[in-house]
């Protein structure tokens, strides 16, 4: 194998591996359906860290009175950790959580999440914003906004837009 072919094989192999690494999110963006959920900034005083905003989902959050996690998607607090799934139902034009489960739902839209860290994460907790749009979007989030998610058949999700309801 000459050096040009070898270099090409290395480059393609490594790009394929990159694709494998981001396959769930890529699948959600390319093959997912669109769902709209209510969204709020995690910290109403200073939601912007760098060019990202941390997002909170009031209708997806698992509120447990025993839980010490008071931000983001909350925590399940069932003594386990690992994969978990949030089943979604539509209410008044936005999608909300109907059930949290360790078993993958048989059908219907759901989010594939993970709570191996201290809180539930579904890959939709942050949103990129260029600096010049940051201030405008901050006002938008304070006034109430919705996030447009793409979710594929395996529950992989990606945020594709944050806008006024």
């Amino acid at each position: 194998m000459n050096r040009t072919v070898t270099t090409g094989v290395i480059a393609v192999s490594q790009l394929v591996l990159v694709g494998v690494g981001v396959a769930p999110q890529l699948s959600a963006r390319l093959a997912g359906d669109t769902y709209v959920v209510r969204v709020a900034p995690v910290d109403p005083i200073d939601p912007f860290r760098g060019a990202y905003v941390a997002l909170d989902y009031p209708d997806l959050r698992h509120d447990d009175p025993q839980s010490f996690v008071d931000q983001g998607l909350g925590a399940l607090d069932d003594g386990e950790s690992g994969d978990l799934y949030i089943a979604l139902v539509e209410r008044d034009g936005v999608w909300t959580a109907s059930e949290w489960s360790r078993e993958r739902p048989g059908d219907g839209p759901y989010l594939a999440c993970d709570d191996r860290s201290w809180q539930i994460r579904c890959g939709i907790e942050s949103w990129f914003l260029p600096q010049d749009e940051a201030r405008e979007t901050e006002e938008l989030l304070r006034g109430g906004a919705v996030a447009e998610l793409r979710i594929d058949g395996r529950g992989n999700a990606a945020v594709v837009d944050v806008r006024a309801p």
Binding site: A11, S13, L17, V18, G21, V22, Q25, R121
Partner: protein, 417 residues
């Protein structure tokens, strides 16, 4: 027979090698093996063909090339990183990918033009690091959690593909380091307990020992690294297994743990089957370490340092014996294989292990002091016997291995820059 051209060719060597050779020539002359005249002619030839100054110039050039390439690479990455928040996720990914591709292609172009080895090595190193940057930047751009172990595993796989296709050592080193991190991160991601760590370390040692044997004579530099990993993992496995009550929770089986053990077993079996004879002792020895470490880990005793009973003593004694046996085996392997890191790892590990067993496991200082006295006596006896047996052991296990002052500056067999 050498041609006139070849007799004039020079070959860079280290000053230490030259010193060693001159000392040997003086010894041969004093013992009458060669005459004074022959010694004089050899010395003249040495000065002409192996100029130490040439090596010094090469070394200085090598250092500057490495430093220069490193500074340029880090500076470029720094420039991009400093301006990342001005870029959109897609642009960020494109910028990082462009840098990675430039390093990858640049390294191979330089290699094809026979550029200096340190320069090629430095650019290939940047390409291997850049592959990791591309993986993590893609993850960040698409909001994949960056702490997921599979990202580290994919980086390791990419670096190893680069290393094996080009026989490049520095990408190999990046791949092995990332791979070792992934080896532990991935199974621990689902379930973490003490005995899982012991099993993973033992399995890593078996896998690396098998790979070292499989690489011997094909890609020697890679074999060297796999052997170092195998020795380090074996020492760590027994060290962790000897911590009292480390296996109190038993073995928590997971698909990743089973996969790790099966892959280690397959590689060890392949090594033993394709390289039968004394070399097969390496992976088989690692299997013994895995079994002993697991049994030690499963042997639970009390953790109360103020209440040391017979069971605790027996556990500590067996642990120390196991560790001493492993250290001696690694020192022997290091000598036979001319692999100094194995020797110093074993010695360092033994000192740290003894100290840990003495002062951390059993609080009473007097007990620890006696442990040192007994072990010191054992070391003195072992050292005396080992020194006498070393040459015979080396020739018995590896008849082709001759005395060598240190490895030469040439590239190891099967390796590119």
């Amino acid at each position: 027979m050498s041609t006139p051209g070849s007799s004039l060719a020079t070959r860079p060597v280290t000053p230490r090698q030259l010193d060693w050779l001159r000392t040997e020539i003086a010894d041969w002359t004093s013992q009458g093996i060669i005459t004074e005249d022959q010694a004089g002619r050899i010395s003249t030839r040495l000065s002409a063909r192996y100029p130490a100054e040439h090596h010094a110039r090469t070394s200085i050039g090598r250092v500057f090339l490495h430093l220069g390439a490193g500074f340029v690479g880090v500076g470029l990455i720094w420039l991009v990183a400093a301006n990342l928040d001005q870029l959109s996720p897609v642009t960020r990914f494109a910028a990082v990918a462009a840098l990675w591709l430039a390093f990858l292609v640049g390294g191979e172009v330089l290699a094809s033009r026979h550029a200096s080895a340190p320069l090629v090595g430095a650019v290939r190193l940047l390409a291997a690091l850049g592959a990791g940057a591309v993986v993590f930047q893609a993850a960040q751009s698409l909001q994949v959690p960056a702490y997921e172990p599979r990202l580290v595993g994919l980086w390791a796989a990419g670096a190893l593909v680069h290393a094996y296709l080009t026989r490049a050592y520095l990408p190999f080193l990046v791949g092995v380091l990332a791979g070792v991190v992934w080896w532990f991160m991935q199974p621990m991601w689902d379930s973490s307990n003490g005995l899982t760590v012991v099993l993973l370390m033992g399995a890593a040692s078996v896998l690396a020992a098998g790979l070292a044997v499989l690489h011997d004579g094909r890609i020697d530099a890679f074999a060297w690294t796999w052997r170092t990993v195998a020795g380090g993992m074996a020492l760590l496995a027994v060290f962790v297994a000897a911590v009292p009550d480390i296996g109190g929770d038993g073995i928590v089986w997971s698909a990743w743990l089973v996969g790790a053990l099966v892959s280690a077993g397959v590689v060890a079996a392949a090594a033993a089957l394709t390289r039968p004879g004394p070399t097969a002792l390496e992976p088989l020895g690692a299997v013994v370490v895995l079994v002993v470490a697991t049994l030690l880990g499963l042997w639970t005793t009390g953790t109360d340092a103020t209440d040391v009973d017979a069971g605790d003593w027996a556990h500590a004694a067996v642990s120390v014996l196991a560790y001493v046996a492993l250290a001696v085996a690694l020192v022997a392997l290091g000598t036979v294989r001319d692999h100094p890191p194995l020797t110093w790892m074993a010695m360092t590990g033994l000192v740290v292990f003894t100290t840990f067993q003495s002062f951390a496991v059993f609080a009473p200082i007097v007990t620890g002091a006696w442990l040192f006295v007994v072990l010191g006596t054992v070391f003195l006896g072992t050292g005396f016997l080992f020194d006498r047996a070393r040459r015979e052991l080396a020739s018995a296990l590896d008849p082709d291995a001759g005395p060598s002052p240190e490895s030469g500056p040439d590239l190891p067999k099967g390796t590119d820059r």
